[in-house]
């Protein structure tokens, strides 16, 4: 075991895709080679993450793996990575979804090498975010995710791609730049309090701050994370970005990027500013509830299938934030589980919309219809993941949602009850999507190819995971137990408002 933990797995995890990305950039004209290289690297990363998950599936308190090296000592910045049960789950999700993203992008024809290089760069950034424990390192990865996504949307996106790409970039940067200032502020306060200059999470925790200062710093962190989540009212970048992004971009955006916001709150926002965080929980709950309904209502009216799924993400992330706000074991575990769930289902839905778009060359619901008769297998999976998304019991989203709802109801019955009403609207917009796409009279060309083996394999695996998480999520909840329990102790009085 000691030999196992002496290998810098976490660094390997980050630098493997980074190296792959650089190699792809160098070989960018050899498109076929880049494709396979990306597949090989993302496979490698996935195998690594799966191996880590298998090794640490029992979870445990504290860091399962930890790396700490000097980096910019003069500024107090260190290279610290750490893995606990919470990041373990998200790292696994990242490894898996990036593989999915590579597979659904197999047909990208323009600038293929560049595309896959960006995907791998993205993977490095995302994994870095989930592993970094030094705030500056975290910030670095946080921004590093931004650039590849900007290109993915801007180069391979649809009609309004440039507007969407710039909007995405500016929105997220607006939050994160203020967070950078807050990080620096925290660092200086720590130094002023007599500590050695440091940006390490463990050193900056437990700092005595005046309430107003804590509130301001927390607000900066909160803004950065809530923009990423995204929570109403800072969510409007998401529909544009998701809609305009290429399929892989949407999968990653919905499946992973949104999770970094919640992860950031759990890993940094709450532990660094416990008092302010505890005070903010009811407001978070309020915004989450507004988001659940607001986004669901808007989703119901969307004419564009992809935009509808995008808005559904906002609603689902509302549930996740509600779970955080409820702040008890069940709800927070549910939130983290729900992040994984949402990543799988929404990722699959985006992949499916992408497959439909490849065949129909439209994503408008009123221009589609009757797909079941033409491409029954694709339609089956579309229906399946739609059902998962609308929270049908037995499928994954329900497992997460019910944990969140149970927890939320315990904290505040009104939250739980109100959020439950949201499922009607979830059904309303998802069924409208299914109705418009699958049912009705067939339109367009008479014959479309049904799923290729590559597409089918991706969807089957996703579907099996959806079932697994829906029926027996215990293996995925096990590593969460202790980290979440530790986390709950962070806020004063358990955080119950």
């Amino acid at each position: 075991m000691t030999e196992f933990t002496h290998i810098p797995w976490l660094s390997i995890l980050i630098f493997l895709p980074l190296a792959g990305a650089l190699l792809c950039l160098v070989l960018w004209r050899r498109e076929e080679l880049c494709r396979w290289l990306a597949l090989a690297v993302s496979w490698g990363v996935f195998v690594l993450t799966a191996g880590l998950f298998a090794a640490f599936r029992a979870g445990g308190s504290g860091w399962l793996l930890y790396e700490d090296h000097a980096w910019i000592e003069r500024l107090g910045v260190r290279y610290i990575l750490g893995l606990d049960g919470m990041s373990l789950l998200l790292v696994l999700l990242s490894g898996f979804l990036m593989l999915v993203a590579v597979l659904v992008s197999w047909r990208v024809r323009r600038h293929t090498g560049f595309f896959f290089a960006l995907l791998l760069l993205m993977e490095a950034g995302i994994l870095g975010v989930f592993l970094a424990l030094d705030l500056v390192l975290f910030y670095l990865f946080w921004e590093l995710m931004l650039i590849p996504m900007f290109f993915l949307i801007g180069v391979w996106g649809h009609e309004r791609r440039i507007y969407a790409a710039i909007k995405f970039f500016l929105f997220t940067l607006a939050g994160s730049l203020l967070m950078l200032l807050a990080i620096i502020g925290l660092h200086l306060l720590h130094t002023a309090a007599g500590g050695a200059p440091s940006f390490a999470l463990d050193n900056l925790r437990g700092l005595e701050l005046s309430p107003s200062l804590e509130a301001w710093l927390y607000a900066a962190f909160l803004l950065a994370f809530l923009v990423k989540v995204p929570l109403v009212p800072v969510h409007t970048w998401l529909p544009d970005a998701h809609t305009e992004a290429p399929t892989a971009g949407s999968v990653i955006l919905a499946g992973l990027l949104l999770k970094t916001g919640v992860y950031g709150l759990l890993r940094f926002g709450f532990p660094l500013f416990p008092n302010a965080a505890a005070a903010s929980l009811p407001w978070l709950a309020l915004l989450a509830l507004i988001g659940i309904f607001h986004a669901a209502w808007i989703a119901y009216l969307q004419p564009d299938a992809k935009r509808l799924v995008a808005y559904s993400s906002v609603a689902h992330m509302g549930f996740v934030v509600l779970g955080l706000a409820a702040w008890n074991q069940t709800a927070v575990e549910g939130s983290i589980l729900q992040m994984v769930n949402h990543g799988l289902t929404t990722g699959a839905l985006f992949a499916l919309v992408g497959m439909i778009d490849e065949r129909a060359h439209t994503r408008r619901i009123d221009e589609l219809g009757g797909l079941w008769g033409k491409v029954p297998r694709l339609s089956f999976f579309f229906l399946f993941f739609s059902l998962a998304s609308l929270g049908l019991p037995g499928l994954n989203n329900f497992a997460g949602e019910i944990l969140i709802l149970i927890g939320a109801f315990q904290t505040n019955p009104v939250w739980g009850a109100t959020a439950f009403a949201g499922v009607v609207f979830a059904a309303a917009y998802m069924l409208r999507l299914v109705q418009g796409v699958l049912w009705g009279a067939a339109r367009g060309a008479l014959f479309w190819p049904d799923l290729e083996p590559r597409e089918g394999a991706v969807l089957v695996v996703l579907a099996l995971l959806v079932l697994w998480l829906g029926l027996y999520p215990a293996p995925f909840l096990a590593p969460l137990r202790e980290p979440v329990a530790d986390l709950l102790n962070v806020l004063p009085q358990g955080g119950l408002p």
Partner: protein, 620 residues
């Protein structure tokens, strides 16, 4: 025989569904159907074989832990007690017959794989509801039947209308699910468990206000699935699906789920008298409403749909009166005769080449006496002809109501009795219009396939003889069902024999009155009445329009407002405005750089003036 085998009851339909899902396309059409039928039949057989386990307290089996987090722990628990066992037997038996019938009915359809997968899944979901000892598992089945009904009602998806009807069913029932769901969350918060037995055991510790609220929430859930007021609008539209599906929804699965839920949680529900009154009131009003609507319907299946709503209203009424055994009794007899009626109606539609409108039918008795007699058997049960199953069960419900000698329950009883009259009238109207007289139009009918024929007589026997299940002592019976249910049977009915006789006589009188009225009106083919009242009844008291105007349209407006105004103008507008402000500000500032040296030099001088001014201020 051990409790470990109980899961097989659930597993067979699920396996059937999975098998057809994975391999269905590779199998012959007949084999597909055979797999589906065999799966349900196996389930029924298992239920029969394991019957002894149900005796007394029943048997409990835990399959695996589903969810566990913090204090929240849910496992997949099966409870096989008299209530669930009898319900299981009914569901599997009737479903087996319906599956068989469907094998014939769907002979010429394409895509029967999907059909049989969903049909099996439907039964599986219903069995989950029935056998669950855990509210979350029950909820799984609850939502599962919602989905299956959605997919089956919209089976012929190519027509937008059918798919829309399916969606309506899912959405409306999901509104009810929310109430149930909230009750579930609340019960967990109160009891710390979702086990039904544990909750029932702890129910007496809860406060009366809480109990009332919980009862109302559960009633809301039941209303959704059982199509009771005010969540009833989906049921008439649900006729868009193939006839076996209608039979399944109305007889064996789905609509009875709500009643079953209330029976299952009766120990909790019964603790709130006000809640019980609400249940009874909803049941009675729904029964009356649906019966009145059935009077004016023109489609054979819609008449039957409204009759289901009405009959389920009776069951609710029974639960509201505390008579669980009566409710279950009626549930069973209704399942038999309604399945029979739907399947016979399917034969009628088959014979008339897909015609659904009864005003264009007539004279079918001569064309197919077989169908006529079987349909008549079902109709007699529905109308409450003496000595048929429906007669006894309905009678028992009305008696239970009458026996609760309060003004409220007497009122309810009066409503129920009026409904019974209306039932006889619309049933005979249906029979007369379809079978009596001469054909009103010419049809190219199809021959009836074998399975569609031989599944009817057994059902007819069950329907007519259903009364034996729970024959009251008055007629020399032993009330088998009541005895079997034991402590689950609800409140005992205390009524004198005189009252019982009087009510029975009244029921018989009403039956004949109804028949006579219809006979007088429909002796000869008469034109359908037109006017405001028939139109009003035909449209189901304009409930759909009310929902459309009162809920859907305001919702659309609100959603549009959120989208265009909230996201569009308020958030994006503000941000884009800020962006534009930056851009236009930049343009203005850029204009300062005129390109002329004199401007640049002047700016230099102004800068100097400012600096000098500042230093001068510093010095002074």
């Amino acid at each position: 025989m051990s409790a470990g085998l109980l899961f097989l009851i659930l597993a067979f339909p699920l396996l059937g569904a999975l098998g057809n899902l994975l391999l269905g396309e590779l199998l012959l059409r007949r084999v597909r159907a055979a797999v589906a039928v065999a799966a349900v039949a196996a389930s029924a057989l298992t239920c029969l074989l394991l019957w002894p386990l149900a005796a007394g307290e029943g048997t409990r089996a835990t399959l695996f832990t589903w969810l566990e987090s913090g204090t929240f722990q849910v496992s997949v628990d099966i409870l096989f007690d008299p209530l669930s066992a009898s319900m299981t037997l009914m569901v599997t038996l009737v479903s087996t017959l319906i599956h068989l019938y469907a094998a014939g009915y769907m002979e010429d359809e394409v895509d029967t794989t999907r059909f049989f997968v969903l049909l099996n899944l439907f039964v599986f979901a219903m069995l989950c509801i029935v056998l669950a000892d855990n509210l979350l598992l029950l909820f799984l089945g609850w939502e599962g039947v919602g989905f299956c009904s959605y997919a089956l009602i919209g089976f012929w998806y190519a027509e937008e209308k059918n798919a829309a009807a399916g969606r309506k069913a899912f959405l409306v029932t999901r509104v009810g699910d929310v109430f149930f769901g909230i009750a579930l969350l609340w019960l967990f918060a109160l009891c710390g468990t979702l086990s039904i037995s544990a909750i029932n055991a702890q129910a007496s510790l809860l406060g009366s206000g809480t109990l009332l609220a919980l009862t109302l929430l559960l009633l809301g859930g039941a209303c959704g699935k059982s199509a009771q007021l005010p969540l009833m609008t989906w049921l008439p539209d649900a006729m868009a699906g193939p006839t076996p599906v209608s039979a399944l929804i109305h007889a064996a699965t789905m609509v009875t789920a709500g009643v079953y839920l209330l029976c299952r949680l009766f120990p909790l529900v019964s603790l709130s008298p006000t809640g019980m009154m609400a249940i009874a009131a909803v049941g009675a009003l729904s029964a009356l409403y649906a019966a009145s609507c059935a009077l004016a319907q023109r489609e054979i299946k819609r008449v039957l749909a409204f009759s289901t709503m009405s009959q389920v209203g009776f069951m609710m009424l029974a639960v509201g009166a505390g008579a669980v055994s009566a409710a279950m009794f009626h549930l069973f007899t209704h399942a038999f005769f309604k399945a029979l009626l739907f399947m016979a109606a399917g034969c009628v539609i088959h014979l008339t080449g897909g015609e659904n409108d009864i005003t264009r039918m007539g004279g079918l008795r001569k064309q197919s006496p077989f169908v006529f007699w079987l349909f008549l058997a079902g109709a007699l049960c529905l109308a409450g002809a003496p000595l048929t199953g429906g007669f006894f069960s309905k009678d028992e419900i009305l008696l239970a109501d009458f026996a609760r000698a309060t003004l409220f329950y007497r009122g309810i009883w009066l409503l129920g009795t009026c409904t019974a009259l209306l039932t006889a009238i619309y049933t005979f109207r249906l029979v007369y219009m379809v079978f009596a007289g001469e054909p009103r139009s010419h049809f190219h009918g199809h021959a009836l396939p074998g399975p569609m024929r031989w599944t009817l007589p057994p059902l007819a026997l069950l329907a007519l003889g259903g009364g034996l299940l729970n024959l009251p002592p008055l007629y020399g019976g032993k009330e088998h069902l009541h005895q079997f249910l034991g402590p689950l049977a609800g409140t005992r009915i205390h009524a004198s024999h005189a009252v019982e006789w009087a009510l029975a006589v009244l029921a018989v009188a009403l039956f004949f009155l109804g028949w006579a009225l219809v006979h007088w009106r429909h002796r000869r083919a008469a034109p359908e009445p037109v006017g405001a009242l028939p139109a009003f009844l035909l449209s189901g008291w304009r409930a759909d329009r009310l929902v459309e105007r009162g809920i859907l349209r305001p919702f659309q407006v609100l959603a549009g407002w959120c989208w265009q105004w909230g996201d569009g103008r308020l958030i994006d507008g503000t941000l884009e405005g800020a962006g534009r402000l930056c851009l236009s500000g930049g343009e203005r500032l850029r204009r300062l750089a005129t390109g002329r040296l004199s401007t640049y030099l002047t700016a230099l001088a102004w800068g100097l003036v400012v600096m000098l001014g500042y230093f001068a201020w510093r010095i002074l």
